[in-house]
Assembly symmetry: C2
């Protein structure tokens, strides 16, 4: 009888962990869509989609709060150790980055609304499309790496962030040149630059998520260590 109770408790515990993982992935899918939709709203001057992205942010915020509650409850009631504890801590870190990605999507949606009123042929839109695709895939891959506990996949996401930073810097440089040549467009171009900056930050957050995945798989904190050291830690097996 006692054995059965034990089994029952441990079954319940596994369920709790599975559930919070599932909720995190659900929230992740949600913010991934937010980013994709925000970029689409901007490129297609579709204010309705942009408004939808902004209103979705409430749901994402609610998800953050409820996942944090789940994590606190698991720690208090189940007192996880070792791998399980790392999973819970990892989730509570990842949720912060997901929420911030949602914030950036909301900012991009605001720029989409600002820009939808402009008539000129837009500068920098191909860069927004390109970098937007790039970081959306990074977010998806970071979440896949989490779902599969795949540290190598996480490592490759972290590596991508360097490329995004370069693409961002080069896009901004050329937009600045364009502003100097034609100052009438300054406001519009600034909206484009703000958007690019938000996308660059989405890339940063995807990288952060990837680093948390490496922590929870490998038990090693690879924030701030640089890509070379990070690759070594991942390969250590």
């Amino acid at each position: 009888m006692e054995r059965e109770l034990q089994n029952h408790i441990s079954q319940q515990y596994d369920n709790d962990l599975d559930q919070v993982r599932a909720h995190l992935l659900e929230m992740g899918g949600r913010v991934e869509n937010q980013v994709r939709d925000a970029v689409r709203a901007l490129l297609e001057a579709d204010s309705e989609v942009a408004l939808k992205v902004k209103s979705d942010d409430d749901d994402v915020n609610d998800m953050e709060v409820s996942i944090d509650e789940e994590c606190a409850r698991i720690i208090a009631l189940r007192q996880p150790i070792a791998t399980d504890l790392r999973l819970v801590i990892g989730i509570s870190k990842i949720v912060v980055d997901l929420e911030r990605i949602g914030d950036e999507a909301g900012k991009i949606a605001t720029q989409a609304i600002n820009l939808s009123e402009m008539v000129d042929s837009p500068r920098g839109y191909s860069e927004i499309r390109h970098i937007g695709n790039h970081v959306t895939y990074m977010v998806r891959d970071a979440l896949d790496a989490f779902a599969r506990l795949d540290a190598e996949m996480a490592l490759s996401v972290a590596k991508e962030d360097k490329l995004v930073d370069q693409e961002y810097a080069s896009a901004v440089r050329s937009l600045i040149t364009f502003m100097m040549e034609d100052p009438r467009n300054i406001s519009q171009i600034l909206n484009v630059i703000w958007t690019l900056r938000s996308l660059e930050r989405v890339g940063d957050h995807a990288r952060n998520i990837a680093e948390h995945v490496i922590y929870l798989v490998k038990g090693r904190d690879v924030r701030h260590v640089g890509l070379k050291k990070m690759a070594e830690e991942v390969e250590k097996g």
Copy 2:
């Protein structure tokens, strides 16, 4: 004998909590100085101070990692519940915001170096001075609120953030006008705008810290609830 051991263990536990609190405050003091020094470096065109701010960032990053380790160790070994658990979770959230404040200080220091090479009389510097002071005080007050477990003080920090956002928006608007009038200064002005944006984010992070303080004092998650609801939660006692 057993009693003595119990006392000893619980003494050790209190020490662990005190220590991690002290480490967080130490890290907080460090990033507060980073922000202050970065702003000073920019206003006084002092590249040496700017480089110092950037190199300090390694220490701050190390502090983040080691505080996170302390929190994980306390959870695993001491299995805190109720108030203690909230303290540990709160600390592990606050540490993220402190690290990001350090990042923003580093970015401001980079702009300080870029701007130190310019000769023109700088536009927007009085706004940088003003908003820089404002957010530095917010960071300090948020940390004081944490040290004293003072939810009302935390609430007032959260309220300040709204003012910072307004100051930031108005400063950027006037800088954009200035860019349009004199496009030769676009690059320089953009460096000033990046700096203001970093300061505005420091304000956001101070607000986040304040929200975590309210959570750990009151046990209520006040992120995303708006200032009015937040004030009600704080007054509930």
